[in-house]
């Protein structure tokens, strides 16, 4: 679903900027800290409802303005145009319009799909298990928004059960009350577990392919990327191509048994010790854990391969997302740049940011992002290259 146009009003440093796009590759060029990343971030916000860099809407609104607007026109597979507008109002509920009609923000978010790779993503490899759990949850939420509802339900059940265990010290919850919350937690957790395992299966093929393509030219066995979903209850589920969705009921039974085994510890520590909130997505390269073993280049390639894998998983249901690559080419050596560029040729639309144009061996339109603005920051379509100007 390529973006035809992207327009920002009072977003970060932009007073008003309009970018005319279209299918294919687009390189946004400009010196660092000139707002190129802000453009990609805005597309990501439209897709997920939040920034990958900051929490809350406050920082996204230009200082002095009350609200920021992100508006995108994209072309659907059946060639219809879809216009989505999101108005971010710090301290207030966001507003949205779809094809001009007012909608609840949560019904508009996600209609414009995208997959973003940003420098922050090295935390997928080097960060805590929580970073990788969030990665899976974000992917599933983007695939089907109902997943996010299910996750909220689980988090609520978890908070309730933890509150019960925490206060267990003095009066102690009766067995019956704890049993009811265990059952509720298991029922809320089982669909999450099934969805996460299914995501790991679905991701394993495309991510491994992308990784192999980025780091080698052939199928060197040593470079095989492996994904494994490690359940808190002990069992590890290796990602298998074509394995499908596991049975939630049996995953629930497994969790129930794990909670029973941890019952003593749970009462002592006053917290829930098994469940999706304690699982881990394990990454290994050629059989060795990526965290700790992967070189700088391998880490970048792995994180990038995970994101590119998401593209395949998302495209299974619905429109092909727009690929957003923030400052990635500069981090790769020349061969890997060339391999990434080759892969980008397969995508419907790619938006790439770079400080130096020469870093990006991609054929496609160039857009200069710079600060020397036209009056009121209106965008000026230039001849050949287009300018996105900042006020």
């Amino acid at each position: 679903m390529p973006l035809e146009r992207l327009e920002l009003v009072d977003y970060r440093s932009f007073r008003h900027v309009r970018l005319d796009l279209g299918a294919g590759a687009h390189v946004l060029v400009g010196p660092n800290a000139q707002g190129k990343t802000n453009l990609l971030e805005a597309v990501h916000v439209l897709g997920t409802g939040s920034s990958h860099r900051v929490a809350g809407e406050g920082p996204l609104v230009r200082s002095g303005a009350r609200a920021a607007i992100v508006r995108a026109v994209c072309v659907l597979a059946d060639e219809r145009r879809l216009t989505v507008e999101l108005e971010l109002r710090p301290g207030d509920r966001s507003r949205a319009r779809v094809d001009g009609q007012p909608r609840r923000a949560r019904d508009a978010i996600g209609l414009v799909r995208s997959v973003l790779f940003a420098p922050e993503d090295v935390s997928l490899v080097r960060g805590d298990p929580a970073d990788r759990r969030r990665f899976l949850d974000d992917l599933l939420g983007q695939r089907r928004p109902s997943y996010l509802v299910a996750r909220q339900e689980y988090e609520r059940a978890l908070r309730q059960r933890n509150a019960l265990l925490r206060h267990a010290g003095r009066d102690g919850p009766t067995e019956a009350t704890l049993a009811a919350w265990t059952e509720t937690l298991v029922r809320a957790g089982a669909p999450l577990l099934a969805a996460r395992v299914a995501a790991v299966h679905a991701l394993s093929g495309p991510a491994a392919d992308a990784y192999r393509e980025l780091v080698t030219d052939g199928g060197s066995a040593g470079a095989r990327l492996g994904l494994t979903y490690q359940l808190s209850t002990g069992r590890a589920v290796p990602g298998r191509v074509g394995a499908g969705v596991p049975e939630p009921v049996s995953l629930g039974d497994e969790l129930r048994a794990g909670l029973a085994a941890a019952a003593g510890d749970e009462r002592q520590r006053g917290m829930t010790l098994a469940g999706p909130h304690r699982d881990e997505l394990r990454l290994d390269i050629g059989g060795l854990p990526a965290r700790g073993y992967a070189s700088h280049g391998e880490t970048w390639s792995l994180a990038l391969a995970l994101r590119l894998g998401c593209l395949a998983v998302l495209s299974e249901v619905g429109e092909e997302p727009v690929v957003l690559l923030d400052d990635v080419f500069a981090e790769l050596d020349e061969t890997r740049r060339a391999r990434l560029a080759r892969r980008c040729g397969d995508y419907e639309q790619v938006l790439v940011t770079a400080a130096v144009d020469e870093d990006v061996p991609l054929r496609g339109r160039r857009h200069e992002v710079r600060r020397d603005a036209a009056p009121h920051g209106a965008a000026e379509p230039g001849a050949g290259s287009r300018k996105a100007t900042e006020a």
């Binding site: 309730q160 206060h167 509720t184």
Partner: protein, 197 residues
């Protein structure tokens, strides 16, 4: 902060559920600019409701008498009991006209975060009714959210232990939504499709 009675009014309004400081101010100034008779009528309605309405001693629905209209109605099926969280949930089910039995209102749901355990709900009274009345089926219609599910799970265990058939109304309802907001059609369907636990 305002002075004296104005601030008192804002404070009292702000203590109502769902009323934030801003709304409390707006309501207070609306009342101040209203006709004196309008204000008196509101005050009277609050006092009268508080004095005359109480809870049914059998099912804990709101009632003007010792027992509510539904408990007194001989045409209702006395063998089937529907368990709900609040009187407003009972009203939502009544509107569907799908259920002809009687009710039991718990007065909330189990919520450890809010310090609400089973002992704070009318569960003991429910068990006493099952002992005293000729009830052959219990339908659990607690809200389709996490607390409602946990409460249903708690009750299902207790009731099964004493051998009463229990069912849970199917949640074709919006996840996380309150029963109160479910439209009547959905609720009617939910009753038709209740499942045995």
């Amino acid at each position: 902060m305002y002075e004296g009675p104005v601030q008192d009014l804002i404070t009292e309004l702000g203590r109502l559920p769902g009323v934030g400081p801003k709304s409390a101010q707006r309501l207070a100034f609306h009342l101040l600019s209203a006709e004196p008779e309008d204000a008196r009528r509101l005050a009277r309605a609050i006092l009268e409701a508080k004095e005359r309405v109480r809870f049914c001693r059998r099912c804990f629905n709101v009632s003007e008498r010792e027992e509510c209209r539904i408990c007194r109605d001989a045409r209702r099926d006395a063998h089937v009991l529907c368990v709900v969280e609040e009187p407003r949930d009972l009203q939502a089910i009544e509107k569907t006209a799908e259920f002809r039995g009687r009710y039991h209102v718990l007065g909330g749901a189990i919520s450890p975060i809010d310090g609400v355990g089973p002992e704070r709900l009318h569960i003991r009274e429910l068990l006493a009714r099952l002992d005293a009345e000729d009830i052959t089926e219990v339908v659990l219609a607690t809200n389709p959210n996490i607390e409602g599910e946990a409460t249903a799970s708690f009750l299902a265990r207790q009731l099964k232990a004493i051998g009463v058939p229990v069912s849970r109304i199917a949640s074709g309802l919006p996840v996380g939504g309150d029963l109160e907001y479910a439209d009547e059609v959905t609720l009617g369907r939910a009753f038709a499709g209740r499942r045995t636990l």
